[in-house]
Symmetry: C3
Subunit: 127 residues, 3 copies
């Protein structure tokens, strides 16, 4: 389970770092709280963080369920795809939001495998 | 625990599907990233997803704590109420945001029971 | 583990209460769904809730990992700092968003200790 937990902790750290970049963009571009609009680059950073929040909330139970019903090592490997997908997503989104598809897709596929795997595993556990 | 885990996985899938509908509305109504405003129907879909994110973050630890300190089968049953509440909320919100109350209420009550139940169970565990 | 679970449940309840205050501000200041802008005080309450959502998503796995690899009692103690930080953050933000730093910092440090502690613990678990 240690590898799965390491990847879980890294996913949370990645999210916190995305949050830091939002805070830095807020300062640099003079977007005063509570506003979350007003500068294009700030908004891109903010959307990266918010979308990562959404994906992380699926990822965390996905890692747990997939580890429990299949294999924590495989969960960790799929989690690395999630981490890479998020980095690609973040870098692409900040350059050009229209290019955010591939990174999003990687993360989304990783999450879908984790959750559907966990669901199938739990259903098999009933039989 | 399998029933509770099945309901947990379904709640995450439901959330991912709400996210898909946001993406579809983004395309259909021409709301270009990073914007999250600009078309009423998109904004309704987006708020459904965001509110579900908020409720899911309470639901996941609620399911865990209630299962641990009371009963995973009861947790699963309450979780089905959560799932139904979210479907009602989503359908009502997209038709008319003023009608979102009942669906929200069902979800909120389910979450409150799970979390307060978990809290009471953990406190009893101390004695 | 009971203390860590009590603090976890309290953190979720705190978040739900922040959400209630958003709903109350929505009524009082006439911000009609799906809008999330239009009145400064509503926007402050909303940002308090949204920022707490972000921090809670880091806090929950942090509590779990730190409890597992170090000590659930210490996790609970750090969690109390998180809870206090959020209360300070909320009160300060609603009065003046420019004063939100200290409360945010307390929460953030608590989360960083929980997650980095969990990461170090999981890595040590490999050796």
């Amino acid at each position: 389970m240690a590898y799965a937990n390491i990847v879980t902790a890294l996913a949370v750290l990645q999210f916190l770092i995305f949050g830091f970049k939002v805070g830095a963009a807020r300062e640099r571009y003079g977007v005063r709280a509570p506003a979350v609009m007003g500068h294009e680059v700030f908004e891109r950073r903010f959307r990266v963080q918010q979308n990562t929040l959404e994906q992380l909330v699926a990822f965390l139970p996905g890692m747990y369920l997939f580890s429990r019903y299949f294999n924590p090592l495989w969960a960790a490997a799929i989690g690395v795809i999630y981490l890479a997908g998020r980095e690609i997503y973040s870098a692409a989104y900040v350059r050009d939001p229209a290019k955010r598809g591939p990174g999003f897709g990687l993360t989304f596929i990783a999450n879908a495998v984790l959750i559907l795997g966990g669901l199938v595993g739990a259903i098999r556990g009933l039989v």
